[in-house]
Amino acid sequence: MSTTLIPPPEGKGRFSRGIHPPDNKHWSGQKRVSVLEDPEEVQVPLLQHIGAVAVLHVRPNSQIDAGGLLAEAEGMVSAPIHASIAGKVGRPSKTTLPNSRRVDAVKISRNPEAPSRGHELWSKLSASLWNPEAAVSFSSGEILDRIRAAGIVGMGGATFPTYVKLKPNPAKPVKRLLVNGCECEPYLTADARLMEEAAGAVVVGALCAARACGAYRIDVAVEDNKPEAIAALKAAAENTWVRIRKVETKYPMGGEKQMIRAVYDRVIPDGGLPLDVGVAVINVSTAAAIAMAVIHQEPLTPRIVSVTGPGIVEPRNLFTPVGSSFAHLVAACGGLKPETRRIISGGPMMGYTVPSLDVTVTKGVSGILALTETSVPQGGETACLRCGRCTDACPLNLVPARIVQSTRHRRFDLAKRNHILTCMECGCCAYACPAGIPLVQWIRAGKAEVRKAAPPKGGQ
């Protein structure tokens, strides 16, 4: 008797619907990563992740080294925070996150004697001698401990603590690790530069993560508009079991549901997680941070931020200590052009506008995008023609116009029946709408009302 090995399902590198916005990667795509010199001070937020605020571990006026522990994780879902520059710890204060939330923070005033740590970290990260064999010398537990201690969170923007995601769960074992190198948001180039210049770290990090969670297959998904990144990753992944998968350039390819469809031809159940189909998804930046944490025991304190768009004088990709202000990064890129109208944290499809540059870079900030008058939507809102372009664009097969119509008329029962809670707010509908209707904004408002009416299970 023999068991037949059924080959795992393979995706075709595509998903249904979605949109093809101009990728606008030319602003910063060819700019090699440069290390941002430490600012005079950083405001390190104690909440840079989904979960509980980290608990302060240092006293005001003490000196701290770059990489020193600032705050310890609190509870099951949390992550520690480390000093991103060397200097004197200030009093507990508040700072503004890119999503406008005010959170506790710690100020660190730079120690003028200490050199910027960024150069050393970047040369380690971008080294050409990453050894893929290194991952096997650690046990799953050791890797998870180092990931947790390094304060690693999802760097694609979700900032979910990576340790929690990768910790093996016997009820739902991880079979495949999918590393997201799609960077499907227009303009952003941080992940593309990382893959091109630090491919070795991405590959080793993926191997470590797979070992941690028990995955027996690793795929790195990269959109086909980044041939250089694909080539660099393929070279780094040679003789390893990491497979580099070219996928179509289409928004939102980097969405978990779309990527899993494109790479594995699997469908995540509505309301479910990648884990429900045996997949763990991490971002390429997260993978690189894992490599730094496991191999070099370096905590996550810097990240690459694309400072880009038509409003930036000299767009760049900056290796930035977290806690730096947007103003510091923008100044390092020659400042803003006077025609700048919107500053966005993240990409143009799902990023947040910030009211000023007095906002702090966190572990989840992949880009600072400055858009000008002519690059943001023109003209006002007109009547819905029910033309259905939103329906044609929705990657989740929703009918956004119906959801919005229900929400406008405060018929939240209808909104729910039209699956408002399935929406992931990717923005394809609003992008495609000829009438300029802010569909996502309506849907967000509607979701809040629907949730108010029926609190999620477990809540009272």
Partner: protein
């Protein structure tokens, strides 16, 4: 350090970019471009009178829309071009001899009863041009039948009437190029198909509605053909190429406002128009039934939208 003059930064919800060149106005312009082969055939056949009727109906619709908007205390929305489009569709759906009063009354009803009473653009239940046409065809039955299609160039009844009366089918080539009597916009199958394909390629019209409507008529025509005892000279192609089928399928039934939103809903809508068209042609006193078929399916559209909600990705089957 000199701080630059503070910029007034906008705060707004994502997404922060929108598809270039996509607007309501451009969609309306697209439909007009799609109509241009049809309008060209009309002008080629009937000359200035055809052009005059189109201009008159378009101007009348624009005027009435502005008037109704003013009466409702709203800023007029003429710039989006929808009223002009309604006027063109109205004129194209009427005979080449339609008198001025018929066009004006049709325009008034199309905009007033078809659109403004519902709350204007995007709110109307029915296709406004068809509401206008339905009204005048009931008010002036003679104006849309028999003799109304007699012009200098063309003599005789429309292909559908002629076949009903004499049993002689029209030549297919005449139907293709439009050298038959008929309403201004409906006569040339070729022009309708060319304009329709343009709209579909430009995504300014859905492909599902024309496809399912034509496929349904094709199926019913084939069945009728198979069931006929006597040799049937009226072929299935005659079914599709005669009367207002192609004009209706590509330019009227695809009106987004009065048709369903979901893909399956559109397929059902098109099939419904096809079945009803066949039903009216076969059993009613009128030779043609496309207009009534579309208006009836317009009425069902809210129900289709209500009950045909597509399953979201990953939903349990």
């Amino acid at each position: 350090m000199d701080s630059p003059a503070p910029l007034a930064l906008e705060v707004s919800a994502s997404p922060h970019i929108a598809a270039a060149g996509v607007s309501t106005r451009n969609m309306m312009l697209d439909v007009m471009i799609g109509l241009s082969p049809v309008m060209g055939v009309a002008i080629y056949q009937h000359g200035p009178p055809a052009m005059g009727r189109m201009l008159l109906a378009a101007a009348a619709c624009a005027f009435f829309e502005a008037a109704f908007d003013k009466a409702r205390g709203r800023a007029h929305a003429l710039a989006n071009g929808s009223a002009v489009l309604t006027g063109l569709l109205l004129a194209l759906s009427l005979p080449p001899t339609a008198p001025v009063h018929m066009l004006l009354l049709g325009a008034l009803v199309a905009i007033g009863l078809g659109k403004s009473v519902f709350g204007g653009l995007g709110q109307n239940l029915f296709n406004p041009a068809m509401v206008g046409r339905a009204f005048v065809s009931v008010a002036f039955p003679a104006g849309v039948s028999g003799a109304a299609y007699l012009t200098d160039g063309m003599s005789g009844a429309t292909p559908l009437t002629a076949f009903k009366v004499s049993g002689r089918p029209a030549e297919l080539s005449d139907l293709l190029f439009g050298t038959v009597p008929g309403s201004l916009g409906e006569v040339s199958a070729l022009a309708c198909i060319a304009g329709g394909l343009y709209l579909i390629i430009r995504k300014s019209a859905s492909w599902q509605i024309p496809l399912s409507m034509l496929a349904t008529l094709l199926l019913l025509g084939t069945l009728r053909h198979a069931a006929a005892n006597t040799p049937d000279t009226w072929s299935v192609t005659h079914d599709l190429f005669s009367g207002a089928v192609l004009f209706g399928a590509f330019f009227i039934a695809t009106d987004p406002v009065s048709s369903p939103l979901s893909h399956k809903g559109r397929i059902l809508f098109g099939a419904g128009v096809g079945v009803l068209t066949w039903f009216f042609r076969t059993f009613s006193g009128y030779p043609e039934g496309v207009m009534f078929a579309i208006l009836l399916m317009n009425a069902v559209t809210p129900l289709i939208n209500q009950f045909m909600i597509p399953k979201p990705a990953g939903a349990a089957a």
